[in-house]
């Protein structure tokens, strides 16, 4: 059965919530702006609503159903304890502007999480308010810009490696920088010499991902940081891949000045079909004074306070200001803190080890049937990168991805990073069992062999999914973004 749209089945008269019906003689003080037109919102009874969304959910794939090997996206198991904790009324049902005496526990969560993030990264300070990774990047880059401006040094250029996530250049541009690309060396890592040659008084900084998006550890990061610092710039580290090294490498030890942490990647807050995320940014001593508001600090009497505009002059006078209306993604803070406490230092150490082991196991189990361009560069970190070299003509990376759907798996990340042709980036994460990996490897091996042999059925895969391939061109050429039906049901 195909699931109808709510606009097909709902009606404006149906309601799944019991509410008092408006009295005819009720006072109206709406300044003459009472709504006169119909809105066009269809309603469903509760049974219909539950059924509609339950059925929709079954057309989705999630980690709960199987391996979700999206490279660089870190789709790992989402513990249900975290969901339970985030729903305690003391966390879920508090208002951001409640008086300080009524939110000491919430501020304690922010303080504890901050302390852990600083300990794990070896940095100096942390800004919790960014709403997701890209927002954290913006925060970090703005801190760099604020620090430069504070010393009267207006630089124009941000260096970004070719292999970077798209958010890196987009963020730098959003923050007013001109983006210049830095090339990769043959081994998939940053070309240190090329970078050094480009440094100068116009370069505000460099944005580096470590481990990088080829799944490789940037061995020269410390040297790069030294060079950038010597040239008066700052080092931004994209923390999307922190999962590979958490508990084992502290970015602060490598000379990093700012790094965002995707709580929904490394610390397992659920991705929810596209968000919400949370992107706290850890900062070096040089950048911490410029962090955005608000932040949490402890008073002499032991009570916690929220530093906002009013108290910023005393506690964070150089703050760059506010990046979101309230204090950040509290719901994600409670989940991430729960996760960190559950794992502990030993658990996180074990987790990054297993994440890297799982990726290497995938890499070495498949390098005989798929081209692995950097397999010779040593062990990979938490993700294994393959290219489309060696596939039969007419068979693409996309075909392999769609064929994996028929095998019961979500595809890996494809066509990223851009530095590898037809890239396939596989990140199994530490929460996969060997049995699950073996099933996945067998499936991908079988698909790869068919791809090399030029099996034509691959080109119109998937065959067994809720949908066959979609006409994406039509969607973009003549976009239908809302239901065209009458607005008055």
């Amino acid at each position: 059965l195909e699931e109808a749209l709510i606009f097909d089945i709902g009606s404006g008269d149906t309601c799944g919530v019991d509410l008092p019906q408006p009295a005819a003689n009720a006072p109206v003080r709406l300044g003459g702006l009472e709504r006169r037109s119909a809105i066009g919102l269809p309603g469903l009874s509760e049974p219909e609503t539950v059924r509609h969304y339950t059925r929709l959910s079954r057309q989705n794939y999630g980690i709960d159903l199987g391996l979700f090997p999206l490279g660089s996206c870190t789709m790992k198991h989402n513990p249900r304890l975290n969901e339970k904790i985030a729903r305690l009324p003391g966390f879920a049902d508090i208002h951001p502007l409640q008086p300080e005496s009524t939110i000491q526990g919430a501020l304690a969560v922010m303080e504890e999480l901050s302390a852990w993030l600083i300990a794990l990264t070896g940095m100096h300070g942390v800004a919790l308010s960014p709403k997701a990774g890209a927002h954290g990047e913006l925060c970090g880059v703005l801190c760099i810009r604020a620090a430069l401006e504070a010393r009267g040094d207006l630089r124009e250029v941000m260096l970004v490696p070719e292999s970077a996530h798209g958010t890196n250049p987009a963020t730098a541009a959003f923050a007013g920088y001109r983006v210049e690309s830095i090339p990769a060396a043959a081994d998939g890592r940053i070309d240190l010499a090329a970078l050094q040659a480009r440094l100068g008084p116009d370069v505000a900084g460099v944005m580096i991902t470590n481990p990088n998006t080829c799944g490789l550890y940037e061995r020269d990061l410390h040297a790069i940081a030294d060079a950038v610092h010597a040239a008066g710039g700052f080092v931004y580290c994209d923390g999307a891949n922190f999962n590979a090294i958490v508990g084992r490498v502290r970015p602060g030890d490598l000379g990093v000045d700012a790094m965002h942490i995707n709580l929904h990647k490394t610390f397992s807050t659920p991705h929810g079909g596209g968000g919400p995320g949370s992107g706290p940014v850890v900062l070096s001593e040089a950048l911490a004074p410029f962090a955005p508001l608000p932040c949490v600090t402890r008073r002499a009497d032991g009570s916690l306070m929220l530093v906002e505009e009013e108290s910023a002059a005393d506690h964070l006078p150089q703050s760059l200001g506010r990046m979101s209306a309230f204090h950040g993604q509290m719901g994600m803070f409670t989940r991430a803190l729960t996760y960190i406490l559950s794992h502990g230092a030993d658990g996180l150490f074990a987790a990054s080890g297993d994440a890297v082991l799982n990726a290497n196991y995938v890499l070495r189990s498949l390098e005989d049937v798929l081209d692995a361009p950097f397999a010779g560069s040593g062990p990979c970190m938490h993700e294994a990168l393959f290219s489309d070299a060696g596939l039969a003509p007419g068979v693409s990376t996309l075909d392999i991805a769609k064929a994996l759907i028929d095998e019961g798996f979500h595809p890996m990340t494809v066509y990223f990073p851009l530095v590898v042709h037809g890239a396939m980036l596989v990140e199994p994460t530490e929460t996969e069992s060997k049995a699950a990996l073996d099933q996945f490897i067998a499936a991908l091996r079988s698909v790869a062999l068919r791809a090399k042999a030029g099996d034509p059925s691959l080109c119109n895969a998937p065959h067994f999914a809720p949908r066959t391939r979609l006409d994406e061109t039509q969607a973009a050429r003549k976009p239908v973004l809302v239901h065209p039906g009458t607005q008055a049901p």
């Binding site: 269809p42 526990g105 798209g166 987009a170 209306a325 030993d346 987790a351 530490e430 119109n460």
Partner: protein
């Protein structure tokens, strides 16, 4: 560790397959000086569910839940009753643990939901098109200003004094780096909004005028005339809605001529959550500007068998394709909050949203009347939805703190929002939703009476 499936036997077999003597050997690329060979010192070791739960429950217990007593806070975050089925449904693993629907064949659940969500938001705001969500209302407001700049190729934004001060602060922080010119004043205590003043400030450099509806003092005004003036100057009118339930009772901004309508969607489905995660709503009145929009868009199409299907589209605007030329750097948005919003709104439907809005307005009118009857207390607003400004006989920040000690969360003092505005020190913003009972209102009235007998 309960979350790690590998056994030591597995690890051994896999290391053999990989050809590495140990897991440590896989980290050979890390310089020894930078590698921790054992768990980082100073952090506790792993804990059982029971231990973690005890700790977190203790912290939760140090907060006063809004539901624990009379509660009248709003100012950009609203407490409404959320049907139990909403939270049940968003916890379905197939929604909760899925990724951005980049593989549409196995993500139609999320995609169809987003298409329905976009339609609901567009209709609620009186717009043609809405996107698939942004982080929250405040960042959506800044994205709207940026979009207006792209469309008008101008860099001057005029913010109403009625715009939420945190939103204005964010805009000013960002504009410092982008070089946009921002005009903004704190509000003054009048019953009317500042639309006339805004019109007077428009120049040929103005890209947009930003108004909030209802505004930070709870006031509502017709923005149609302002829209005409703004359009005549070649600029855009941006309307910010922080309480979407209001649009069950009020004419939508789109109908009054707003070009971009952004909002905070937290009130439906998501709950208070101490400020986040929330839900950025973003819609435009003229569909021709769709390629200038930020954020993800879900569109209808067909699969090879001709079945109606949904897919993320127009992604040439986005960072993962366009990189530094993208309309925004946003990637992860608020998908799950959008789902909660859409489910809540589906349960309500037209009839339910209107009834909910009417009930909010009824209770707010009732509270306003009872408060206005107190000696020395004045209600500023002539028109409001579920939130209004009360002028107290003394400092409102102090009153809020004192009432909190008596278990009454009385509202948001304007002194907290505008610490440097002495003229606002006596003003208290009171929000009354359907979750407040008459007893709650009476408790607030009695509490204020005790402070100023």
């Amino acid at each position: 560790m309960r979350y790690l499936p590998l056994t030591d036997v597995d690890r051994g077999a896999m290391l053999d397959a990989v050809g590495a003597p140990s897991i440590a050997a896989l980290f050979a690329d890390v310089h020894p000086d930078h590698l921790q060979h054992a768990p980082i010192a100073g952090l506790p070791l792993h804990q059982s569910e029971m231990e973690v739960e005890r700790h977190m429950a203790r912290l939760a217990g140090q907060n006063r839940a809004a539901g624990a007593g009379p509660f009248f806070l709003g100012a950009g975050a609203y407490r409404h009753h959320i049907p139990a089925s909403v939270d049940h449904l968003i916890q379905r693993g197939e929604f909760l643990t899925s990724y951005t629907p980049y593989q549409p064949e196995i993500a139609q659940g999320t995609l169809q939901m987003l298409f329905e969500f976009q339609t609901q938001v567009a209709r609620l705001f009186g717009c043609a098109v809405a996107n698939a969500s942004l982080y929250d209302g405040s960042t959506a407001c800044w994205e709207a200003i940026q979009m207006a700049g792209r469309i008008t190729r101008r860099k001057g934004a005029i913010l109403s004094s009625g715009l939420h001060p945190h939103y204005a602060a964010l805009v000013q922080s960002m504009a410092r780096f982008t070089g946009d010119g921002i005009a903004h004043q704190p509000p003054v205590l009048t019953a009317e909004t500042d639309f006339a003043d805004l019109a007077a400030q428009i120049t040929p450099e103005t890209s947009c005028v930003v108004v909030q509806y209802p505004d930070i003092l709870g006031r509502v005004s017709d923005m149609a005339a302002l829209a005409e003036t703004v359009h005549a100057a070649g600029a855009l009118l941006i309307a910010v809605v922080t309480e979407p339930v209001a649009l069950g009772a009020l004419t939508s901004p789109g109908e009054m001529g707003a070009d971009i309508v952004v909002g905070e969607g937290q009130a439906l489905g998501t709950g208070l959550q101490f400020g986040g995660p929330y839900l950025g709503l973003f819609a435009i009145r003229d569909a021709r500007h769709v390629r200038q929009m930020p954020g993800r868009l879900c569109g209808e199409t067909v699969d090879t068998r001709g079945r109606r299907s949904f897919v993320l589209t127009l992604s040439a605007r986005e960072q993962h394709i366009r990189r530094e030329k993208a309309t925004s750097n946003i990637c992860t948005n608020s998908g799950l909050c959008a789902l909660a919003f859409s489910i809540h709104l589906t349960l309500l439907g037209e009839k339910g949203l209107r009834a909910l809005a009417a009930e909010n307005h009824r209770m707010a009118c009732l509270a306003a009347d009872r408060l206005a009857a107190l000696p020395g207390v004045e209600v500023l607003n002539s028109a409001f939805f579920n939130e209004f400004t009360v002028l107290l006989p003394g400092d409102a920040r102090l009153a809020v703190r004192q009432l909190a000690h008596r278990g009454i969360l009385a509202g948001v003092s304007l002194g907290r929002l505008y610490p440097d505005q002495q003229q606002l020190a006596h003003a208290l913003l009171v929000t009354v939703t359907e979750t407040a009972s008459e007893d709650d209102i009476d408790a607030l009235v009695a509490g204020l009476k005790e402070l100023w007998p």
